[in-house]
Symmetry: C2
Subunit: 338 residues, 2 copies
DNA sequence: TGGGTTTGATAAACCGGTATAGCTCCTGCA
DNA sequence: TGCAGGAGCTATACCGGTTTATCAAACCCA
C-alpha cells in the first residue's frame, strides 16, 4: 500500500478513525494503552498526514507566508534576506510548518498577495518586513484577519505583533564611536525615507549631534541603490568642507562609497572613515575591510517565526519582542581624522 | 457572508454544485449561457477556491517546491538565487501556483525535505539546482515519483527534465577572448569539483588550451568561498611564472581575487586580467569593474517553471530545454598582457 | 443499591471542492 | 416513427482528515 490513511490504521488497530485522529494529535479521548498501540502502528506503516486533508478539516494549513517587495536586482546582494529566511525556517521547522516566499515589485502587489492568500486559505499567517511610516499593510492585514508579525518595526497602538532590535541605540553607538575617534564632520547616507527604520536612524543622528559637539551631521536619503550611494558620496566629497566620516545605511552603499573615495583619491581610513550599518561578506571582501554594524539576522528571523506561531495560536496576544542588540565590528575603514 | 463556497454559488444560480465546478474550471458539461451566468455570480460574490479543498479533491496542490542546499552565509551574496527565484515565480504566477522555498545545510537534509513533501502531498513538483556528478537526488525523486526539473544540468539517460545553458561554449568564449588579447598563461579558479557545471567548465578550458596555444591553463577547484578564492589567487600570483589572466567561477571569488592582486601590488588589468563567470552588481561595484559573463538568470528561472508545469501535466514527457546563451560583458579588468 | 459523572470509544457529519454515474431532453438519421 | 447519441445537468460518492453527538461501561459517593 502506497500511502496509508488513518482509515487503514484504524482497521489495522481495530478502532475507529476518530480514535486514530485523537491518538495522533495527542488529545484526550483514548486510553494511554490504545494511544500507544495506534502510534506504533502508524509508525510501522510510516503514516504521514495529508496536508490538504488536515487543512480542510482543521482549517489551518501549517504554512506561513512572507512577501518581499523589492526589485530582484537590489535583493540578491544583501545577505540580510538569506539569513533572515534561514532563521525563520529554523523557527518554523520545529512545528514542521512550511514557508511560502514571494518576491514582488511593490507594496500594491504585496497586498494583492495577502488578499489572495487569505481568500484561498493558503497561509495561517504572515511575516512583514520593511515597515514604512504609515504602512497600508497593517490595516489591510487587520481587515483580512490574517495573523502577522512585523520585523524591525516596533508597533504603536492598534499595531501588529513585532520583533525588533534597537536601531536607535545602534546608530548612537556608531556616532559616539566616531566622535570618540575625533570626528566632528560626520555624514549619514540613509535609505529610503519612508522606511520606519530610516527615520529612526536619522533621528538618532540628529539627536546625538549637539551632545557630541558635531559641526555638521547631515542625513541624506537614497533608494538604497549602489548608484545613489555613489552619487551622494561624490557630492559629499566634492564639498569644500568634506566630512571626515560617513555612515551608510547598507553595506552595498558603503562599498559603492568606498569606490568613489578611491576614485577621487580620498584615502580610507586616512582622509575618510567609513561605517556600514549592516554587515556581510561584502564588507570583508573590501580593501580596506569595512567597519560595520553586525546584527544577528538569523536569530531575528527565528524569533519572528516563534512570535508568529504564538500569534496564530492566540490572535489577540500582543507581543513586542526585543532581540539582541547589534554590535559594532571595527575593521580597517575607521581611524581618527588626520 | 464571509467566504462563499461553490454551494452558495450553486443555490444562488439555481444549479448544482457540479455544474458550478464545471463552469469555474472551464470544462465541458454546462452550456455557454449557464457558464457565463455562474461566472458572473462567482465574481459578484468574490469567490475564491479554497486551496485545501481543491487539493484534496483533485489531488494536486498548485504548489511547487525548491530546496537550496547551501549554508546561508555564502548564499545571500549571490544575486543568482534572487533572480532565479523571481524568474521561477514569474513563470508560476500565470497559473497562480505558489512556490515553497527552503534553505538547508546539505543534500541529506534536502532529500529529507523531498520525502516529507511527497508524503504530505505538499508540492506537485520540485526544481533542482546545483546538480552534482552522481547526484543522489535524481534516483530519490524518481522513487518518490515527484515531478522535477533540473536547472543547469542537461540530463543523460534516465534523467529528469532540465533547463540548461551552454556552460562549455561560454567558457570557450572567455578563454578565446583572453587568448585573442594575447594571453598565454591563463588560470581557472573553479568551484566545487562535484558540481556538474564545474566539470564542464574545467573540461572546456582543458580542451581549448592546445588549440589556442596556451602555455599553461590549470583549473583549480575551491569551495566557492571568498576565502579559498583569495588563497588560490595568492598562490597563483606567488609563482615565478605567474598567470597573466585568471577566470573565476563566481563573482564573489573574482572580487576576492582582485583584492589579493591589489594587496600584492599586481596591477589589474595591467599585470593581470580578471574575468568572472557570473555577473552581478558586485562586479560593477569594483574598481576596476570586472569583465564578467552575464546570464539571464531570471529567464532561466521562468523557463524552469514552465518546464516543470509541463512535466507535472505529463509526467512521462522528457524535456531538455536550452536557454539563451550567456554573453561576455567586457569591463575594465581585462586587457592585453604587458 | 441507585443515580450521576467520568472515561473510552464509535458512528456520522463535516470541511469545500472534484469526479462520475445516471437522468432527461433534444437532435439527426435511417 | 424509432432509436442511437450527445449535450446539459443533477445527485452522489469521494478525497483524508477533524469534530461532535452519542453511547456503553466503569467509577464514585451517599
Amino acid at each position: 500500500m502506497a500511502r496509508p490513511t488513518i482509515a487503514d490504521i484504524a482497521t489495522r488497530a481495530g478502532v475507529s478513525k476518530g480514535a486514530v485522529s485523537f491518538a495522533l494529535n495527542g488529545r484526550p479521548g483514548v486510553s494511554d494503552a490504545t494511544r500507544e498501540r495506534i502510534l506504533k502502528i502508524a509508525e510501522q506503516m510510516s503514516w504521514r498526514p495529508h496536508s490538504a486533508a488536515r487543512a480542510l478539516g482543521a482549517s489551518r494549513v501549517d504554512s506561513v507566508g512572507m512577501v518581499i517587495a523589492r526589485p530582484a536586482r537590489t535583493l540578491g546582494v544583501e545577505p540580510f534576506f538569506a539569513h533572515l529566511l534561514s532563521g525563520v525556517q529554523s523557527g518554523l521547522s520545529a512545528e514542521s510548518i512550511s514557508l511560502q516566499l514571494l518576491i514582488v515589485e511593490d507594496t500594491a502587489a504585496e497586498i494583492e498577495v495577502y488578499r489572495r492568500w487569505a481568500s484561498e486559505h493558503r497561509v495561517d499567517g504572515v511575516i512583514l518586513v520593511d515597515l514604512t511610516v504609515k504602512d497600508p499593510r497593517i490595516d489591510e492585514l487587520r481587515a483580512l484577519e490574517l495573523p502577522a508579525v512585523v520585523i524591525g518595526g516596533r508597533g504603536g497602538k492598534g499595531a501588529l505583533a513585532s520583533v525588533w532590535a534597537d536601531d536607535r541605540d545602534a546608530m548612537l553607538a556608531i556616532v559616539e564611536y566616531l566622535a570618540a575617534l575625533g570626528h566632528r564632520r560626520i555624514a549619514h547616507v540613509a535609505g529610503t525615507p519612508n522606511f520606519q527604520h530610516t527615520q529612526r536612524r536619522i533621528r538618532a543622528v540628529r539627536d546625538a549631534a549637539p551632545r557630541l559637539g558635531l559641526i555638521d551631521a547631515p542625513s541624506l536619503t537614497t533608494d538604497f541603490s549602489d548608484a545613489e550611494g555613489a552619487a551622494i558620496t561624490r557630492k559629499l566629497l566634492s564639498q569644500p568642507q568634506r566630512p571626515t566620516a560617513i555612515v551608510y545605511d547598507s553595506d552595498v552603499m558603503a562599498v559603492a562609497g568606498l569606490g568613489v573615495a578611491m576614485e577621487m583619491g580620498v584615502a580610507v581610513p586616512g582622509d575618510l572613515s567609513i561605517v556600514a550599518f549592516d554587515d556581510s561578506i561584502l564588507t570583508q571582501l573590501m580593501h580596506p575591510a569595512l567597519t560595520a554594524l553586525s546584527r544577528d539576522t538569523f536569530e531575528f528571523g527565528r524569533q519572528a517565526a516563534e512570535v508568529l506561531l504564538e500569534v496564530i495560536a492566540e490572535p489577540d496576544r500582543m507581543i513586542n519582542r526585543r532581540t539582541a542588540d547589534p554590535v559594532l565590528t571595527v575593521r580597517e575603514s575607521t581611524a581618527p581624522p588626520s
